[in-house]
Amino acid sequence: MSDKKLTTEWEKLFEVFIALFVVPTFIFYFLGLHLPSVLNFSYYFIVSLFIFQSALSYMYSLSAFRRKWFRELASAKHLAVPKTTFIVSAYLPNEIEVIEDTLMNILKNVKRPADGIELILAYNTPHMEGIELQLREIAYKWPELIMTNAYGSKSKSENLNYALEIASGEMIVLLDADHLISPDCLSLAWRWLDEGYNVVQGRCKIRNGRTSTVSSLVEVEFEAIYGISHYAKSRIFDSTLFGGTNGYWRSSLIKQIKFREDRLTEDIDATLRAILAGNHIAHDRSIISTELAPETMGGFWFQRKRWAQGWLQCSMRYQLPILGCKYLNIFQKFMWTTLLMWRVIYDILSHLLFPIVFAFWLAKGKITLPMNSFIWFALFFTLFSGPFEATVAYKNSSLPRASILQYFLYAFLTFPFTIFKNLIQVVAIRDELLGKREWVVSQRKK
């Protein structure tokens, strides 16, 4: 990560600090002087937002508490797993160290359907890398491996679209370059497509959680995201999302949907276009694939900022179509709204709690907490949601489990970690509004 890039990000943080903390503090202060009820109302309103957000977290955690095994629907046709295409997308200079392991894991370990598999490495590289010749030798040994150099491509979406033109499997598995997929993934995923779903999203697990504090937090966070949040959405609302990797698509659908090249989260964009066209996505947390988490704060920052900005792009484009979608019921529309515009609104408004409290202190002339039984309830309800989620995540975690210490660390740091992530989201909003769209490729190391 260059120093210049990091300096720019600090400058953005400073701007956000002024815009969301300093300026609102004075606005609320002056409002409070003339209209004290506005300050009071704003305080309770923001606290209520925290309660709502925490209530969603409890709902997901509680519904994911029990392990639920796959239950077959009457619509199952019991067809054999068809020929399947794996598409692994890679940006070679950054992902050289991990790509060979990813490919060899698929070639050596994945259980083949009767009609076999094909493995397409979709890559772009600004110059010929030594690894490319090495990979061509592997392709000579393994006819299932197809190397597709998406010449002139500048994005992951272009690589994927290029590979989709070549793919011949009936089921298509999309994977990032660092993913080590489990050998039984195809039969587990096909069960869902066989009974009528169009896409199934598997569980992504972090395998380098012990290398740094950041990756340790992300490991437990992923257990919560994939073991609770996505799973619970699928279970409660019968709708969930494709997260960009470890996703299993019906070939006909993904070839029609393709990936838009102007999106920072092409996966969410593809998800929403699929959902709006009436397709169904399920989440199966038993289909496990391991990946590498960012190990540094800088890596984490740029990864999450891209995700947040991509989600924002999708929120602005698809919130209204989701509300008007004839294929979604009212509960599914609610769920998608909590993922789209609600997140944007919450990220901005939740920061206003601090300016409101600061304005209250300024008005009072002393530091005192405006507490009553409602606020105490809100405080405990909100602060306990993270540790509760961590407990459920631990109970349902995939093997090998992260250490209990990692879960304690996550539970302890949930609140500042969430605030930090919300801050990244706000910087992403700032970047999107100013038209700054930059894809910082994550550096992958073994």
């Binding site: 094909e118 491996l145 197809i146 010449y151």
Partner: protein, 65 residues
């Protein structure tokens, strides 16, 4: 020496990807090249690569029948 249908299909699909890649590169070089002679040579090679992809596709269709 013999080769089974599955491996032959897989090999042809590998070649198809390589030919498509070569076609894209030669086409771009033909476009970028300022000297007419060289541009014509690259353009001819690009056409050859295009023919390779068509043949590969035809063979794949025959194999899939």
């Amino acid at each position: 020496m013999s080769i089974d249908k599955k491996t032959l299909t897989a090999r042809l699909r590998q070649l198809l990807a390589v030919d498509k890649n070569a076609f894209a590169i030669y086409s771009e070089l033909a476009e970028l090249m300022k000297e007419d002679d060289l541009s014509a040579v690259f353009s001819d090679i690009a056409k050859d690569e295009k023919r390779h992809t068509i043949w590969s596709q035809e063979m794949l269709s025959l194999l899939e029948k």
